[in-house]
């Protein structure tokens, strides 16, 4: 589909992309500038700070009531575990939907997708009370626990994740498993040893999407996590901006910059899987 570019064509392409990058990165650069600016406002000052300082970054790690480093670690931990489990659950479900024929297969998947479109306005209260109840009977799994929070995230594991994976699995020829099963392997062994390795790209895709999704989420953790030491990064950030009257932008911006790093790291290291991963899953047949 592509052919060599002429010089004007080349220039045009690069220009367009650079324009787009400006649009994409402008707000980010603004946050970065605010994190270095001594004041506490975001927009009163010039784009390039006159007296850049690292004070806000230092403040982040020096307030005992706001253990930012701990919050970051909590976020990484929760998102990491939730994403791993999500990938596992989605893979299991996708395998069943792809390989087995049973009644209600297609409708079931459709129902799954549509049910998740229910507006989440009031789900929070119900989930809060549910976890409260669970916590009364199963100690480690209730309110203010990371395990409880992860469990809530797992509720969304089946859905578009499963659909994407199913599509991908569909493109893996069955002969591979069939020959393994003739040799005496069970379905599950075929799943573990043949399908999963081949599906590494799509597994990485779902992992990244789940990680980013759970990492940026602040609604659920702010309701379910009540102790400061259990907060995730997003919840802690909210403390900074929900001060009674004004936003402490300096510290807030510094926190944003640092908080975005784990995501970027995860993303950059798994980036190559993303591209080839979505290819096979997308096409049926």
């Amino acid at each position: 589909m592509y052919s060599r570019h002429t010089l004007p064509g080349k220039l045009l392409r690069h220009l367009l992309i650079c324009g787009m990058i400006t649009f994409a990165l402008f707000p980010v650069l603004w946050i970065f500038s605010a994190s270095l600016n001594p004041g506490n406002t975001l927009f009163g000052q010039a784009f390039i700070p006159e007296n850049p300082t690292l004070r806000h970054y230092q403040e982040l790690f020096n307030s005992p009531r706001h253990p930012f480093g701990l919050w970051l670690w909590n976020s990484i931990k929760v998102s990491g575990i939730a994403s791993l489990l999500t990938v596992s659950l989605a893979a299991l479900g996708a395998y069943a939907l792809s390989r087995f024929r049973f009644r209600g297969r297609r409708t079931g998947l459709l129902a799954l997708l549509i049910i998740q479109m229910f507006p989440q306005m009031l789900a929070m209260v119900a989930i809060y009370l549910l976890l409260l109840e669970i916590g009364r009977h199963i100690p480690g799994l209730g309110l203010n626990t990371h395990a409880g929070l992860i469990m809530v995230y797992l509720g969304g594991a089946m859905g578009f994740n499963t659909w994407l994976m199913k599509g991908y699995f569909d493109t893996i020829p069955r002969e591979l498993e069939e020959s393994a099963m003739i040799d005496g392997a069970t379905h599950f062994q075929a799943f573990l040893q043949i399908i999963l390795p081949l599906a590494r790209p799509i597994l990485a895709v779902i992992f990244i999407l789940s990680f980013i999704g759970t990492y940026s989420d602040f609604l659920l953790p702010s309701i379910l996590l009540t102790g400061t030491e259990n907060f995730t990064f997003a919840v802690g950030l909210r403390l900074f901006i929900l001060g009674e009257y004004a936003t402490r932008w300096g510290i807030f911006a510094a926190a944003c910059m640092l908080g975005a790093l784990p995501i970027l790291v995860v993303f950059l290291s798994l980036q190559r899987f993303l591209i080839s991963g979505l290819t096979r899953g997308a096409v049926k047949g």
Partner: protein, 512 residues
């Protein structure tokens, strides 16, 4: 299966069942029937899945379905239940909680006597109190909950100077210890003649009378102080003359929340306008992010373009910043007088766009921010999908003399849409309910001049109803639940139709 595998399976099932039964017993004893039945159902399904050969696929689906039912289906079900009640401000508690609340109220009658006190604790943990009336100076000893008059010369008292340090083997408690047993002290009700004496503050006991009594047989709550009787009317105890007691409790009100949606002019009036904008908003969000994402994907897919990987990495960054942060930053950047966007526009073109004050520009603003937030996802998806289109198709089309535009339109786009269509449907549904951007950026505004309803120019169904449910007079959860249900039915229907359409698309693609 090998021996170890079977043993492992049995052990796992056994442990799970053990935990389940342990929890079930707890639930049974606590009388929580709904969670109990959920747990039992789950356990049965689990055992069925593991032990039955026919339910083999269930083994793969169950681990994902259990949290799904728990965390997604259950809240939806409870949402639906709440929709038929008036749960909200003034009706937050259960009937039992309200009755308990009133029955625990005490009042101190006018002229009621007060007592200073000293407390003594015995080795077995029993408590003796010595009360001294502030009015008559008489001393009383509490024994088994009854106050009996005593003289200070009582032989049971042991003195140290002028202070009593021991009574009947019970040692005097210090102030600090008193504070620590506050909880125990506040529950005491001592009988004094035919009055009751209770702890009123850290320093005093006082005559206290119960203020309310509930008669379960008649269902009547009586104020013992005034004699007025209250019966529950829609969750609020009301007297014959119309006096209402707060708090109230949540009651079933049938389909009233739903009929209100239809009959209340505040809701039915702007409904079509808001619905139209919501639909447009979702549609344009998907259309703009998809177009931009696809355009970028096409550009970045070009093997002849230099610095592709570098560009790709930079363009992903917006997706990595948490949404609520980006939205706030955009809000500031688009400030009419002080935002950087207008400052640049003013310097270059001498104009300032009334971003949040003009309905049209406010809509542009929310779409613009949503575009910034969402193009990266679409770009990633398209990049992937583009890889899967077989090169042979392009070559065949080239041979037939197609130019670049025709290649794009006749080969790339159709095949792309087949694979991406369900994702687009999902994105449409997501944006239909995308509360975040609207709420944080414009709050639904700007207001429409002359409107009697609180619907702003950028309000979508869910943000508007959120305002109605929570921004009028306290929180109305029942109403909000009913609205959620209606919105779900709308978007569910639209999505189901769309899925049906895309399925037909697939059939077309299969023949290629």
């Amino acid at each position: 299966m090998t021996m170890t595998a079977i043993l492992f399976k049995i052990l796992l099932l056994g442990v799970t069942n053990a935990l389940g039964i342990w929890a079930a017993v707890g639930l049974f004893l606590a009388g929580s029937w709904l969670p109990l039945s959920g747990l039992v159902l789950g356990l049965v399904a689990l055992n069925f899945a593991v032990l039955s050969k026919r339910a083999y696929p269930l083994r793969y689906l169950l681990p994902g379905l259990i949290p799904f039912f728990l965390m997604v289906v259950y809240p939806i079900a409870s949402n639906m239940a709440v929709a038929f009640t008036n749960f909200g401000t003034g009706h937050r508690l259960t009937k039992e909680q309200v009755i308990a609340h009133f029955e625990s109220r005490f009042y101190l009658p006018e002229g009621g006597e007060r007592f200073t006190y000293q407390a003594f604790r015995g080795p077995a943990g029993s408590l003796i109190l010595l009360l001294t009336s502030t009015v008559t100076g008489t001393n009383y000893l509490s024994e088994r909950g009854i106050l009996q008059a005593v003289e200070l010369t009582d032989p049971r008292f042991v003195y140290d100077g002028a202070e009593i340090v021991e009574i009947n083997g019970h040692h005097r408690l210090s102030r600090r210890e008193l504070v620590q047993i506050m909880g125990e002290l506040q529950e005491l009700s001592l009988q004094w003649g035919d009055e009751a004496v209770r702890l009123v503050s850290l320093a005093e006991f006082g005559v206290a009378r119960r203020q309310y009594r509930y008669d379960p047989a008649e269902g009547v709550l009586t104020d013992l102080r005034t004699g007025i009787a209250y019966t529950p009317v829609e969750g609020i105890f009301t007297s014959v003359h119309g006096e209402r007691l707060q708090p109230g409790f949540a009651v079933f009100i049938g389909a009233r929340n739903f009929t209100e949606i239809i009959t209340n002019p505040h809701i039915s009036g702007p409904f079509f306008r808001i619905f139209t904008w919501t639909f447009l908003w979702a549609f344009l969000s998907v259309a703009t992010t998809f177009t931009l994402g696809l355009a970028l994907a096409l550009l970045l897919n070009d093997p002849y373009l230099e610095l592709r990987n570098f560009y790709r990495t930079l363009l992903i960054v917006p997706y990595a910043i948490p949404g609520f942060i980006s939205i706030l930053v955009w809000g500031g950047m688009l400030n009419v007088d002080f935002g950087i966007v207008n400052r640049i526009l003013h310097d270059l073109f001498a104009t300032k766009i009334p971003w949040f004050h003009d309905p049209l520009w406010a809509r542009v603003a929310v779409l613009l921010v949503n575009l910034w937030l969402g193009y990266a996802y679409m770009m990633i998806v398209c990049l992937g999908a583009l890889q899967s289109i077989p090169q042979e198709l392009y070559e065949a089309a080239r041979v037939d003399g197609a130019n670049r535009i025709q290649l794009l339109g006749k080969v790339t786009l159709p095949l792309l849409l087949i694979s991406i269509a369900p994702l687009l449907v999902g994105s449409f549904a997501f944006n239909f309910n995308n509360f975040n951007v609207i709420f944080l950026l414009t709050g639904g505004g700007p207001p429409i001049p002359g409107a009697i309803t609180p619907a702003g120019a950028t309000d979508i169904l869910i943000s508007y109803t959120y305002n109605l449910a929570f921004g009028a007079a306290g929180a109305r959860y029942g109403f909000a639940a009913a609205v959620s249900l209606i919105i779900f039915m709308i978007i569910g229907t639209i999505s189901a139709i769309n899925f049906r359409l895309t399925r037909n698309l697939e059939r077309v693609g299969e023949s290629l």
